[in-house]
């Protein structure tokens, strides 16, 4: 006899639950996580080093964790800011997950840290699906990557609380069409703030730090449409646990 078990379980329920717990635990310690996503080479590390240095100069306790498939190069660069930095090597994994992040924070994250910046693996596909317990998700794109990046990676850009354009000092040289880029962000994530930055040109200094501090205190200023999914398709697993008896125990 053929038997069918109606599950209706979100595949990422375990990660989402871990992320939720991590967010609450960190909030209780006064820490908010900022998740930085971009393609490889878009300038995450350079911008983050600048903002970490600024935080130290302003006396804001911050820390940073950077994830790569290999090498500790980014941690060495970020450590020049003088704030606590940790390198995570993912051994080939293309993204961080909430449980992994939580494991790396145990025994390392200094007490009193107000902001923990997480530089995700350079990749605009896989990391987009994983909530790390962040309060602010920031997606970066450099002017060399093309105006249509938000359309090519709609899930990453669509879930961003804030979009940073990097390397604007060379925008003219590479004929970056900022109007088109902004329109493309608006298409997949209406209302999202897009800010110009350049580490070499000194543009947008402090924006990331200020937005992160504001989000820590009051939550993100912008809620992306993609996170405002209607629950009409009985999407909320929490509501259905009771109906499923034994199935409910499989969520952790």
């Amino acid at each position: 006899m053929c038997r069918v078990l109606d599950l209706q379980q979100a595949v990422l329920a375990k990660n989402d639950a871990c992320a939720h717990t991590l967010r609450e635990e960190l909030a209780a310690r006064g820490t908010a996580v900022v998740n930085l996503l971009s393609s490889p080479g878009s300038g995450k590390t350079a911008l983050l080093e600048r903002e970490l240095t600024l935080a130290r100069e302003r006396g804001v306790p911050v820390a940073a964790l950077t994830a790569d498939l290999a090498t500790e190069n980014d941690a060495v660069r970020l450590a020049r800011s003088g704030v606590p930095v940790k390198q995570v090597l993912t051994d080939g994994l293309c993204h961080l997950e909430a449980e992994m992040l939580g494991g790396h924070l145990d025994g390392w994250l200094p007490t009193g840290t107000r902001l923990l910046f997480v530089e995700n693996v350079g990749n605009l596909v896989c990391p987009a699906s994983y909530d790390l317990g962040e309060t602010l998700r920031v997606v970066l794109a450099s002017v060399t990557e093309g105006e249509d990046k938000p359309l090519k990676y709609p899930t990453a850009f669509g879930l961003a609380h804030l979009v940073l354009v990097t390397k604007t000092d060379i925008a003219a040289a590479v004929e970056f069409d900022e109007v088109a880029f902004r329109a493309n962000v608006e298409r997949v994530n209406p209302g999202a703030e897009v800010v110009r930055t350049s580490v070499r040109g000194g543009e947008g200094v402090g924006t990331l730090l200020e937005r992160a501090l504001a989000a820590r205190d009051d939550g993100p200023a912008h809620i992306p449409v993609m996170t405002r999914q209607s629950h009409h398709l009985h999407d909320d697993p929490e509501d259905r646990i009771g109906e499923r008896g034994t199935v409910g125990s499989s969520r952790s």
């Binding site: 069918v4 599950l7 595949v11 990660n15 298409r187 997949v188 209406p190 405002r228 999914q229 398709l233």
Partner: protein
């Protein structure tokens, strides 16, 4: 390619769900995959096969059912297919108070299997 992580999560959840129900070999898993879920069905199917090996799901068929992305404008109540790449500002009034009705699903819908025939009486060797 995070599809392997997704496949492992599917296998883990299905195993936990079907063991108490007494399944010995899962035949089919039906998965709903939204247009905006960021998952490639072909890559997932490949990963799923590998993830199932050595589990109660070995040899199981994965059926992925695509779910179109649809959005609704809270200002003018218009609904539209978001498309790919998605248009998430209202094409009618241009408003940004939009909600997604569907398209982000990544959900195991159901699992099916054939009940194993009753085991034959065991012959105790003497």
């Amino acid at each position: 390619m995070h599809e392997m992580s997704i496949a492992l999560a599917v296998v883990d959840q299905v195993e936990s769900a079907v063991r108490p129900a007494g399944a010995s070999a899962v035949g089919r898993v039906r998965l709903l995959v939204g247009e905006l879920a960021g998952v490639v069905p072909d890559a997932l199917a490949f990963s799923f096969q590998l993830a199932c090996e050595g589990t109660v799901l070995a040899g199981a068929e994965l059926i992925t059912e695509p779910v179109a992305a649809r959005a609704r404008c809270a200002s003018c109540d218009r609904t539209w297919p978001a498309g790919m790449p998605p248009r998430l500002s209202c094409p009618g009034c241009g408003g940004a108070s939009v909600e997604l009705l569907s398209g982000r699903e990544l959900r195991i819908a159901d699992v099916s299997w054939l009940d194993a025939p009753a085991p034959p009486p065991t012959h105790e060797e003497r």
